[in-house]
């Protein structure tokens, strides 16, 4: 990371912390309780942004994976950037999916009386999380040049679950409610709920981008060094050759 990059990240960090603080202020104090759910509506402000985060970083993982497969032979160094971005976005996507499920479960216990149910929305969401957990495990456990290629292919197949998750409440009868935004007639929320929701969505997405940028920089540094080491002449073999001579 260059000096300019570090300065940008410090500004990014300060901005995201400020946004999170402002979002928290709206979520806890500046918004009224709901007529039906009381103060439990405040769970929505920290539940919904997680899914928006997953909905941004997992498609980015797909784009980076496709870019890697396209560039791996033409431009290896650019392909490393794509692969590093794929790792960083997959980790962030898994984090947001996990937090979305935890917050949803805590909210559901109060709203529905149950921690979990095997309805289509929750089950496909769990599958989505497990697919990307498998992706991260594969990256950790596998070595060699084919690792990034296999992971990129897995990411493309794993992404197929995302439209299924989104459409699950439309295709099947589920305990989970239909989409709040863009769910057709009758969807949408009151202005008093919309404002804290949007602030927290922006705050957590900006924060997620900040963390992704750090993970990306770290992974890229590791990959580029491995590549340089692989290309560098082996000093041991040259010494051995000299001894033989």
């Amino acid at each position: 990371m260059t000096r300019r990059g570090i300065i940008i990240r410090w500004i990014w960090f300060a901005g995201s912390v400020g946004l999170i603080a402002y979002g928290l202020f709206h979520a806890l104090w500046a918004s009224p309780p709901d007529a039906q759910q009381g103060n439990m509506i405040r769970a929505f402000y920290y539940h919904f942004p997680n899914w928006i985060g997953a909905g941004i970083f997992l498609p980015l993982n797909l784009a980076a994976s496709v870019a890697y497969l396209y560039l791996r032979k033409k431009k290896p160094r650019t392909a490393f950037k794509a692969d590093s971005l794929a790792l960083a976005t997959a980790e962030m996507g898994v984090l947001y999916c996990t937090l979305g499920m935890i917050t949803g479960s805590l909210w559901g216990r109060e709203a529905w009386g149950i921690w979990w149910t095997w309805d289509a929305r929750l089950t496909t969401t769990l599958m989505l999380t497990l697919i990307y957990v498998a992706y991260l495990i594969l990256r950790r456990t596998m070595g060699g040049s084919s690792r990034a290629t296999l992971c990129a292919v897995l990411a493309i197949f794993g992404f197929v679950d995302i439209p299924i998750v989104y459409m699950s409440t439309t295709w099947w009868r589920t305990q989970h409610p239909a989409p709040v935004f863009g769910g057709g007639e009758g969807s949408g929320v009151a202005h008093a709920i919309l404002v804290p929701t949007l602030w927290n969505v922006v705050a957590w997405v900006v924060w997620g981008g900040f963390i992704v940028s750090i993970r990306y920089a770290a992974e890229l540094r590791v990959q580029q060094r491995s590549y340089d080491e692989a290309l560098a002449p082996n000093p041991m073999s040259s010494t051995e050759q000299a001894q033989h001579v």
Binding site: G38, A43, E91, I211, I214, R215, A218, R221
Partner: protein
Amino acid sequence: MSSLFISAWIVPFDPAIDTPLGHRNLVLIYVVVGLVQLAYASYAIHAWRRSGQRKDRFESD
């Protein structure tokens, strides 16, 4: 645990419209999201620093 108790005072609670279980779960939602995000941020920074240390070691070799 201490952050959980602090948050319990910060998160609004009205006995007329809220249940104790709902309040506890609401506190947990805010605490869990905050702590997990902080933990992952710490891991990301640790990974970044570790990648730099490896470079230094490699260069000194």
